[in-house]
Subunit: 261 residues, 4 copies
């Protein structure tokens, strides 16, 4: 006989007349008393956010919701055309793109900053850390996470706003300062514009809020789920995915059949 380990979870359970979520009675303690951003905080951390935490966390989430016609949004819309009866499949198809390239930046920036600052004292020399980090990345010929943007130059307009909201609420600390030092050092060393981008700023501020880097991608997933539902809803009113598909199929067919000898 197998020796079973007990299954325990603190997420939620229910009985005949009561639903408990994260230790709180859903109907008397949560409904009407917390917004969706606060609920996301409660789900992930197990406690209510302070008003300051809620304001900062909502700002980060909102930055992640809508980035226009991304590959993820196009995927969701294409799958919505193929399986209109299963909206969850369309949203999932786009969400699967919250990977290393488009949305992994927060995770990677948080990992870099949290690893660098782990175990250091409050008065650690951030400039020395930044120099080490930039030189290490230059030597390994890999980009430094969190800085640089193909469109938004010389600054990403979201970054100063997010840092200002963090500062106003007491969350502009060492992780933000280290990222700023990394940015300045990299720009000087590589002699080009490498602004702190929005995902980098989000990774830094999530680190200030105490989120372990492994969980940061989850914040991007929540934001994007909201945005992808928005795109699928627009696709229902204003279809464009079928036109995208037909253009691509047509061009590939024409190129394939006219260029052959």
């Amino acid at each position: 006989m197998r020796d079973n380990k007990p299954l325990r979870s603190e997420m939620g359970w229910s009985s005949r007349d009561k639903i408990t979520v994260r230790g709180h009675d859903l109907t008397t303690e949560l409904l009407g008393k917390i917004d969706l951003g606060g609920m996301a905080w409660l789900e992930i951390t197990g406690r209510f956010p302070t008003p300051a935490e809620a304001e900062v966390f909502n700002a980060l989430l909102i930055t992640l919701v809508e980035h226009g016609m991304t590959p993820q949004a196009i995927s969701s819309r294409l799958i919505s055309v193929c399986a209109p009866e299963a909206m969850q499949a369309a949203v999932a198809a786009g969400l699967l793109g919250v990977g290393s390239v488009f949305a992994g930046g927060s995770e990677q920036t948080a990992r870099l900053l949290q690893t660098a600052l782990a175990g250091t004292e409050a008065r650690a020399d951030l400039q020395a850390l930044a120099t080490d980090i930039v030189e290490d990345h230059v030597r390994r010929k890999v980009p430094v996470p969190g800085i640089g943007h193909p469109v938004h130059k010389p600054i990403d307009p979201r970054t100063p706003v997010l840092f200002a909201i963090a500062e106003k609420n007491g969350f502009r600390g060492r992780h933000v300062a280290l990222l700023e030092a990394i940015c300045a050092t990299a720009e000087r060393k590589l002699n080009r514009s490498l602004p702190i981008n929005a995902t980098g700023a989000i990774g830094a501020v999530l680190s200030e809020l105490g989120f372990p880097w492994r969980i940061c991608r989850g914040v991007a997933i929540i934001g994007r789920a909201v945005g992808l539902v928005g795109h699928v809803a627009e696709e229902m009113r204003n279809p464009l995915a079928y036109e995208i598909y037909e253009r691509v199929e047509h061009e590939v067919m024409v190129n394939a059949t006219t260029e052959r000898p």
Copy 2:
């Protein structure tokens, strides 16, 4: 040459120094000024919610976040064990279960209520509509969407709270009244407890808020995305999916190899 139709979207776009989301400047009009629930409303409807709408909509969303160890939550946790490097895959695996059985109830209830009330006058005879609906379902031997619950009896504790929040904000109208009439009629006719369940209540209140029934599943998807990120985060701290897998695999193997002649 193919005659391309122009691609137009109102979701969002960006230029070098400005990000536009649903017609608003992200950094000056949205960040710090709207919470995630309000942002979801803006994404889906294209306009800001009123404070009353935001309160009701957040309550609906929060009800959908956390339902304990559902099949969706177990799926997300199992896939997180298989591919810990791809959190989006784990969340998507659970989200794919937001289908007809567990979360489609809001959509089906909204469809029923919106179809029944479409084109009727404000003073339509709701009791007559309810009787027709119940008799039609009894004749077709299919359950009426939005009523009945395996655990929560004689009432689903979420329903009166959601209706009270709707009422306080001016959204307890004909869709809610029709669902209440359906519930009373079905209980009388079938002589058993068939409370308005939470998904039914959500479908009715979303109808009051003006959401077309085809979009209601999207609200469930947003709520569950938040909850599934919570479960994957707990699985990282407190793994239990591997134990579930091993129990199942062990039992199937023992049953298969001992019961054969």
Copy 3:
């Protein structure tokens, strides 16, 4: 204490020195003795295919593998760009589009044919059944599944080949004949070209092979999984998804910013 029902499965299990799949020893009875098409048959039906069944089933599967730059293929390629480290996410993103519109035709055709022929005698009047089916669809203003194609006219070139392979192997029976009668009746009644399309032919031949209609979508899923892996592999060698994304994003941005008053 809960009264557990035992968990039993016939799919497979393993012990220290033996892997059992569908009741067969993997290493001595399957490896080197069956191809992937036969293995798919064994997984779904629980027994080996005859050579005739294997030939027909492989032909159906192969027809489903590659349909060029479909919305599913584009989705897989877009997600592969976003998360190149998670190929399974890219393939899944496309597979999610095997829904009612593009690949559900086999399922719907099989359902129609199996339902119509259930309980009828071998000498049932297929023409009368076909007339009823066509008239019923015309009255309900819904298309008859399995017939009509936007490109392949006046015939879908795959259909006669699939039917010939089925006939050669003894599987051109009543389901095929009924679909042919439906096609002829609909073309006469509606006075336009409505050839049996490939998904219709597949649904009919799967019915001949004894597959319940509920499982037919699974055959499409297997075929498309192979094709989508092919597309993701080509995307690695010959990237085009990023170009598709940039064109769409650019056009949406230009249209949005130039057309506003």
Copy 4:
């Protein structure tokens, strides 16, 4: 105006009377002439397999189809319960688990072997390479991919059969020999049973067949897609996912409500 790059693909396209797949006419050159394993080879490599290649490739694919009640299979079955109308969602939910832990072994082994042998001469000293590889992994305290198994000891019964099929067809070359040297070296150095496991054997033989390591996960995805369709089909006939869910939910609820002070 944007300067568009042309979109070209060699996968497939169709005209009114012809479907071209990988440069071949589907109806005259493929249907009835190739099985699903061969078609998978054609999709990925762009050419037909030789009979020897087809035999080896089919054996690898078949090994990957069915591994019993894995986390992936359980996920697919759970999602099938939630969304029975969307079989593709259920299969995708399991496929998402073809990640680094359960099925990434082939990819990692192929990468290790291909990287080690890249640029070496035919008579390279494999024992020296193996010693370097094992010592490097021991020093970094990470497991060597492709060797060791929790259940199958002292050998994985699939490995000698796969290697024998490879040898018979002329594909037991240097990649297999290097993996064998790694296995022997690691067992000697770490003084415990570390057999070449099936995913390791598959990675080595795929390398012999000329598959770049980045594509190896695709082979696992194809095999698992077949197996997961099998599980969903069994779940329809013999439901067990709901029982798994109810047991887990019940136990979590009991543990949560009885252990609190």
